[in-house]
Assembly symmetry: C2
Homo-oligomer: 214 residues x 2
DNA sequence: TTGTTAACTTAACATTGTTAATGTATATAT
DNA sequence: ATATATACATTAACAATGTTAAGTTAACAA
């Protein structure tokens, strides 16, 4: 029994309801294990109603990722208040890892799951926006450190540096998320692994005198 | 029309046939996109025949991973002939990355896909065997470098070092495999990213005089 | 010859994502 | 006030999937 003509706000609200329910289920049991019918049941609608708001399951997943990317960027934004570029870069890394490890299934959806390529055209987020684009945030802080002249002489490509910094933290976090339960490896403490990775990266990227100053 | 009573060798052969066909398909189109019927068709059997050799799709996947872990260890074994521990460690990293990037879907199955925990008990491979256990190979070479006294004074935990080295290369490779197609990031060349990561890690892990010697 | 059984196939099931067909209550037009 | 159109929702249905149950066939043992 549909009360007709929802306002835009109401429709947005239902969209959010679907997204939240879906994320909850995806996050606790994995994307493929969750059915459209199940998501629908959770919010008291029929499965097909979801298709009035999302083209298909993948589009729903994409929307969830969009909101999670925004959540990540919002969290990392708090580092902007740190004046020293180097301290800011380290804080960004720590914040990123904290997000990854406290929302492992979000992180899996965002960075570890096979997907149709992310495309700024198809996203509700704005690329190169400091409030919404976490990669842009990283690039900015790396650029600030670069502009201070802290990086070694042979490091000139800000994108390359940013991607290497990203990969280092992503490596630790993604191994933790995907392999921590395995009996094959006797894992060192995750905090120790994160700390060592940051230390090693700083040693490898920065000029010696900058490191000694700290 | 079943000619009865296969020998053990024949049954092993059919198992291998299934594994090879399944891997081929998994690797080219992803695990979930491939159906049991399709695998069966490829080798001229019916889908249900596969269940005579593997409990379910996941067990089949596990067997494939086992053979791929062995393939990785076998590939990395070629580095054993390098006398210098440091050069050996670098070669191991390069070999690992080459494997990951030339078999991205294998790699995805092995290290990026959610799985029931790997357990030495349940594997056909032997843990801590230099021929079969790639992590053990890494640990060994890290230990050799450690024994030479090449690592910085503050680095004492071989497992922690090994896991950090692993995470660095895994980070680059897994981002490449999962995100390279995304339009959001303007990716630097993958070779440059691998090279910089190795350089940075060596700078961060090794004593200064060792690095200058090279 | 007659069972027995291993190897294999066909049928069948429950579940999935998704589309088509249908209903229903409201908003608008008359 | 009545009719019509339409937005919102549901139920039915489809093709495809992993998997199980129920045959079928051929080799061997008695």
């Amino acid at each position: 029994m549909p009360p007709k003509q929802k306002t835009d706000a109401e429709r947005q609200q239902l969209r959010a309801l679907i997204i939240d329910a879906a994320r909850d289920l995806f996050v606790s049991r994995g994307v493929e294990a969750v059915t459209m019918r199940e998501i629908a049941k959770r919010i008291g609608y029929s499965a097909t109603s979801i298709y009035l708001h999302f083209a298909d399951k993948d589009a729903l997943l994409r929307s969830i990722c969009d909101t999670d990317f925004l959540a990540l960027a919002t969290k990392l934004k708090t580092t902007f208040q740190i004046a020293d570029p180097l301290a800011r870069m380290l804080a960004l890394g720590r914040g990123y890892a904290a997000f990854a490890l406290s929302h492992p299934n979000h992180y899996r959806l965002m960075f570890m799951t096979k997907h149709t390529p992310y495309d700024p055209e198809l996203s509700s987020l704005h690329q190169n926006n400091a409030e919404q684009d976490a990669y842009f945030q990283l690039k900015m802080v790396v650029k600030d450190v670069y502009d201070e002249g802290y990086f070694r002489e042979d490091l000139k490509d800000v994108d390359l540096i940013a991607q290497t910094v990203w990969a280092s933290t992503h490596g630790v976090c993604s191994l933790q998320i995907n392999m921590a339960e395995d009996k094959w490896i006797h894992w060192a403490d995750i905090e120790a692994r994160l700390q060592l990775m940051q230390t090693v990266m700083m040693r490898g990227l920065l000029k010696q005198d900058i490191r000694e100053e700290k």
